[in-house]
């Protein structure tokens, strides 16, 4: 038995034909057919900060890469640059929260979850402080390899009591979650989408509004129920359009709040004899899939159940479209997997 989940690739290569650029930190997702919105997080935070003096912002050398620079530019005296020091970032945010402020602390998801976990656990969550940890590069959204691929951030934080976990799908989710995170009087871990962010949900359901703690049916369908979170709701909706051409009717239940989980809506949707697929931009271990499975089994609801998510591996570096295809979270791969299970 070997522990290696990633093959070493030391053999010499030839230069390939065509360009396959590694998707860097600032890569926007492949989101064809959608309008985009610039910096929805930073702009939503500014709108709220104008009315709420308690809001302050902190970053660990990644304000520009989390759209917090928009806030820093508008409110320079309410922004604290902590340098490349994520433990200091979290502890300082805790101290500000002790003094009555509502700190938004931003970094990349890998650093918040891996590097600073003890600080999030002990200085923030154990004390029940309203620190809002908002992190870019969730799941597989960078081609830089495991150092920047937060494939297990939700698994790490799901074990932490009292913290709310949000995985937004699009610009509407990102913008509308900001005031709800402030209204939630406790710690939050939110995944961020930054830069030019696609507007997905309102294209499919014009009256869609983000509600913290609520899963919402974006699309109805009688053959398959996909319960999805984050960008995988976009993938599910796109794949559902493709599958509709083959006569396969796919419902999509968008579940952006992973903790606390909206078990009522999930159970109401899953108990209708449809194939139940959970799709997440995260390892299949410890994320939404296992949370939904536990919910269903505990309630005695046992549909045919499948997971779409990242494998239990350290992932490869490369171009994001290639990687999404390789690991089963591209539009095409999602459609093919669902088809294969029917």
């Amino acid at each position: 038995m070997t522990a290696a989940t990633r093959a070493r690739k030391y053999e010499p290569r030839k230069v390939p034909e065509g360009k396959q650029a590694t998707s860097a930190m600032i890569a926007s997702l492949e989101a064809e057919g959608y309008d985009t919105v610039a910096a929805p997080f930073g702009n939503a935070l500014n709108a709220l900060a104008e009315k709420d003096e308690r809001i302050v912002g902190l970053s660990a050398d990644l304000s520009k890469y989390t759209d917090l620079h928009v806030f820093a530019n508008a409110y320079p005296d309410r922004f604290y640059q902590m340098g490349m020091a994520e433990q200091s970032l979290m502890g300082t945010a805790a101290g500000l929260a002790h003094e009555g402020f509502i700190p938004f602390a931003t970094t990349y998801a890998v650093f918040a979850s891996r590097r600073a976990y003890d600080f999030v656990s002990q200085t923030i969550a154990e004390e029940g402080l309203p620190v809002k940890i908002c992190c870019a590069l969730p799941g597989l959204t960078s081609g830089y390899g495991p150092s920047h691929q937060a494939t297990e951030d939700i698994a790490i934080f799901r074990g932490l009591p009292d913290i709310a976990i949000v995985d937004p799908c699009d610009a509407t989710d990102v913008a509308q979650m900001v005031p709800e995170l402030v209204a939630y009087n406790g710690p939050v871990y939110a995944r961020l989408l930054r830069g030019q962010v696609a507007n997905v949900l309102q294209k499919h359901k014009p009256d869609y509004q983000f509600k913290l703690g609520k899963a919402q049916m974006i699309r109805e369908g009688k053959d398959v129920l996909v319960i999805s979170t984050g960008i995988m709701t976009m993938r599910a909706l796109d794949a559902a359009e493709d599958l509709a051409k083959d006569g396969i009717d796919v419902a999509v239940l968008h579940c952006p709040t992973i903790k606390p989980l909206d078990t009522e809506t999930i159970l109401a949707g899953a108990g209708k004899g449809r194939l139940c697929v959970v799709a997440e931009n995260h390892t299949k271990l410890g994320g939404l899939g296992e949370a939904v499975a536990t919910t269903l089994l505990t309630a005695g609801v046992v549909p045919v159940f499948r997971q779409i998510g990242l494998p239990d591996q350290f992932l490869e570096a490369g171009a994001l479209p290639t990687l999404h295809d390789m690991y089963g979270i591209s539009r095409r791969a999602v459609g093919e997997q669902i088809k294969s299970w029917l």
């Binding site: 302050v56 604290y80 902590m82 340098g83 020091a85 433990q87 200091s88 979290m90 502890g91 300082t92 945010a93 805790a94 101290g95 500000l96 929260a97 002790h98 003094e99 009555g100 402020f101 700190p103 003890d118 600080f119 002990q122 200085t123 154990e126 004390e127 029940g128």
Partner: protein, 282 residues
């Protein structure tokens, strides 16, 4: 700022320290264990803190104008509870509940259990960064209050302490006073013998802190150091490195092979009290 009632009393700081030592030993006897060696060593620091340096209101531990006094090193809770009782923040009648089920005084310090406990420490190296956040918050509120962070020399081994030390200097936190209890003792032995943080004063100075290194078991020296830390005019964070002696005040424990978790036999708690009682300060 209004001083607390206790601080106006005529009880000497030496007597306060003696009282804190006595209470810590009494709590140790309740559980038959505890970080008594550290408590005896840091008692003078706590006496000068609570009865000379720190602003608080015993009847209102969450008074907005108070100085925030954080116990980063949750292991020292037994010493801190003794100080809180001496200060009138915790009632002495609860001394016998130390470490018991449903007590307000768990063996490691946690904010949600105990009035006057500003943070949950224990996972070492957390306190200084939380203190940085509090100091920034107080400045935002234009509060004249100080943040005190009591930590141990062992916590200097945590990288997070130095992240926070950099941040405090960068953000010019003149309202932050860090106290390092340097008893040269960690879980596996002498802290200077395993991965030494010396020269610790030079390190803090290099990080931009107003630095003092003193005998942490000398009351007059402590008073002068706390005064200097408060009164220093530079916009710099302040550190008082206190060299202290484990088990200070109980010679038969001082002479024991010093360990992180000093072993005290069941019959020795009363002996320790008797030793203290032989030299009760005025």
């Amino acid at each position: 700022m209004e001083a607390s009632i206790e601080r106006r009393s005529n009880v000497s700081l030496a007597r306060r320290a003696w009282n804190i030592r006595r209470k810590a030993i009494q709590m140790g006897e309740v559980q038959g264990q505890g970080y008594v060696g550290q408590a005896l060593g840091v008692a003078d620091v706590l006496a000068v803190s609570f009865f000379h340096a720190v602003e608080y209101r015993a009847e209102d531990p969450e008074w907005e104008g108070r100085d925030r006094y954080q116990l980063s090193i949750g292991h020292y809770a037994i010493a801190f509870y003794a100080a809180l009782m001496e200060a009138g923040i915790l009632p002495e009648e609860e001394l016998g509940t130390y470490g018991m089920d449903d007590s307000r005084m768990p063996m490691s310090g946690m904010a949600s259990y105990t009035p006057g406990m500003e943070m949950s420490g224990g996972s070492l190296g957390l306190g200084l960064s939380v203190a940085v956040g509090r100091a920034l918050g107080l400045k935002r509120k234009d509060s004249p209050a100080f943040v005190f962070n009591l930590m141990s020399d062992g916590e200097l081994g945590e990288g997070s302490t130095w992240e926070a030390a950099m941040a405090a200097a960068h953000h010019k936190l003149g309202n932050l006073i860090c106290i390092v209890d340097f008893n040269n003792q960690q879980a596996d032995g002498a802290s200077t013998g395993m991965c030494s943080s010396e020269p610790i004063d030079a390190k803090f100075e290099a990080f931009g802190w107003f630095t003092q290194r003193i005998d942490g078991n000398d009351i007059d020296t402590l008073v002068a150091a706390f005064d200097a830390a408060r009164e220093h005019e530079g916009a710099r964070p302040r550190v008082i490195i206190c060299d202290t002696k484990m088990c200070k005040g109980v010679p038969f424990l001082e002479e024991r092979e010093i360990t992180h978790f000093v072993r005290v036999e069941p019959d020795e708690w009363q002996k320790a009290l008797a030793v203290l009682d032989e030299e009760t300060p005025e």
